[in-house]
């Protein structure tokens, strides 16, 4: 059984245009089905507005999903009582993008790391102290640094504190929403290394959300590519990167600047901009920018189908 099983998840938001304007529905996540296996990483990649962050938040029920089912170890999360949800949240934690905004500037690192333990009533004071010191060792923080405040740390260190906080309750699943996007590349690599080490050591599962294709490729076992609220391709990392099927994935990969000046580039340049998620195109939402689009694409919503063993894509031309 998969650790996390999400089926047909929808996350719709209602927005108003202007003060008394018409209500419009933004389909941030529109029928997404994914699974995450124990000890594995699912990478979720896509451009801004594709719904990748909403998907993460929706899974943790930080926002209430509109429709669909989220099963964690077989147990349905949608509609679960607040009490049971709190217990379950011990098992699933989140790491945010901005390590400057996600740590309380008025709390010491010790207080920040202790908060989840207190909330969930873990141990007594002495046990908690031990747990925190053990935790800080894991992320390479010295004991003395625990009484420092977030502003005294660099961005990379802060992100490691964010990771330690997520690990405090010994979760099984961590949803990491752009955890390294705010960091410089040499610091980013430290955080990625740490995440890979911790995964091995603690048998963690990750859902790794990012716009950065090379980072996702590096850390993931399986990759889901999203476009305007839908998964357009999902498969093992090797399949998605070596033999991408969906025209969007192909364009995305060919657009990625590769740090090798001798490489001969054959780029697929997509025309136009990302359509607004509040007013997505008909049929296949990608048809307005797709180099392969035909008349049918504007009419038929392509289902996500298994086109090759273990390789799913949503395109009628594949």
């Amino acid at each position: 059984m998969a650790l996390l099983e999400v089926s047909n998840l929808k996350q719709h938001f209602t927005t108003k245009k202007g003060f008394l304007g018409e209500k419009t529905i933004v389909k941030a996540v529109d029928g997404v089905s994914i699974t995450i296996e124990e000890g594995k990483t699912l990478g979720v990649v896509g451009e801004s507005g594709c719904g990748k962050s909403s998907l993460g938040r929706s899974i943790l029920r930080l926002v209430e999903p509109t429709e669909g089912s989220i099963k964690f170890e077989g147990e349905e999360i949608v509609g679960m009582s607040a009490k049971r949800l709190k217990e379950l949240r011990k098992e699933m934690q989140i790491v945010f993008q901005d390590p400057y905004a996600s740590l309380n500037p008025r709390r010491t690192v010790r207080q920040i790391l202790e908060a989840p333990l207190i909330i969930h009533g873990v141990g007594d004071k002495r046990e908690r102290k031990e747990l925190i010191e053990n935790l800080s060792g894991k992320i390479g923080l010295r004991k003395e640094q625990l009484s420092n405040y977030p502003h005294e740390f660099s961005g990379g260190q802060r992100q490691r504190i964010g990771i330690a906080r997520a690990l405090a309750l010994n979760p099984k699943l961590i949803i990491a929403d752009e955890p390294v996007s705010a960091l410089d590349v040499s610091v980013q690599s430290q955080v990625l290394n740490l995440m890979l080490e911790l995964q091995q050591e603690m048998n963690l599962s990750y859902m790794f959300i990012s716009h950065d294709l090379s980072v996702v490729q590096h850390i993931s076992d399986k990759v889901a590519v999203m476009y305007l609220g839908k998964v357009v391709e999902i498969a093992d990392v090797g399949k998605v990167y070596d033999t991408p099927m969906h025209p969007y994935t192909q364009a995305l990969l060919s657009a990625l600047p590769v740090p090798d000046p001798t490489r001969i580039r054959s780029r697929i340049i997509l025309q136009g901009d990302l359509p607004s998620p509040s007013n997505p195109p008909s049929g296949c939402t990608f048809h307005t920018r797709c180099p392969m689009a035909t008349k049918e694409c504007a009419e038929i919503v392509p289902p996500l189908e298994e086109k090759a063993p273990g390789h799913f894509a949503a395109c009628i031309h594949v």
Binding site: Q217, R263, R267
Partner: protein, 338 residues
Amino acid sequence: MLLDVKNMSLSLKRAGKYSPILEDLSFQVKQGETLGIVGESGCGKSMTALSLMQLLPDKARLTGEVDLQGELISVYSKRRLEKIRGNQMSMIFQDPLTSLNPLQTIGTQIEESLILHTKKSKEERRSRVLQLLKAVGLPRAEELIDEYPHQLSGGMRQRVMIAIAMACEPQLLICDEPTTALDVTIQAQILELMNEIKQQTNMGIIMITHDMGVVAEVCDRVLVMYAGKIVEEAPVIELFQNPKHPYTQGLLASIPKLGERKKKLGSILGTVPTPGSMPVGCRFADRCPHVMDVCRNVTPAMIRIKEDHQTACWLYDEKEGTANGSAGSKQLETAFHH
């Protein structure tokens, strides 16, 4: 030579005292060449751009010589500089939304530099603006000219920024992270556009970026900056294949590469020193895996390893271009992978 910068240094006043931001930068840009300036946050790459344009706060202390096409612009008065900025040299900033005026139409903003620098009539200016909008690949130029920045997407706004910068056909274009705020498919469009413009105009471009992928795709030659100094300069292929400075090596080793999955990445331990508390000697010494005694005492000078490859590191010798001290160059190249 299009641009010749000699010993440029910059100090900014902070909390009552001047602290050095840039130190002793010397470099050149040829016509038709793209020079990359690469480094991590706080290394001074953006301040280098602003110093060239002399768009600095009042209490900045800028020294050294900047020569643009034979004119020593570093000694020019504000007034004379205004005739050069937007005319002979232009700049594109990272964030197109905050660099455009929300209260003016696209047309007005592109027209501004034409009014300042040319004697074109109103009709001539309008047709030039339309021509520019089409040249940067914007659709329905006739309508767009009267629209406001908020009506445009991020990629379109950056195209407008490029149109503004190109309005007077500058000889030198300085781009400060022009695609960092954009999605990858939009970034590809903008980089493609910049390559086209470069081929058509033969201008010199300075491309400031933190993204080694962008460097590899668009630059001919690269400067690597660390803590306000240039630590390495080389042609782009040479830099990627034969990086010499331990910082450059560390930077390249820390990038996740396509095809290498779940492999331990190289990283650079420690943090960048802050402007107020720069160490004596080499500024990278505290984070360098090859640090020697001399590094902590004496600042290494830029030395020429090859005809067009320079680095500021005590590991190398001017004449042979081979490694000094105990660390052989083989060892050096592999050190970051272990």
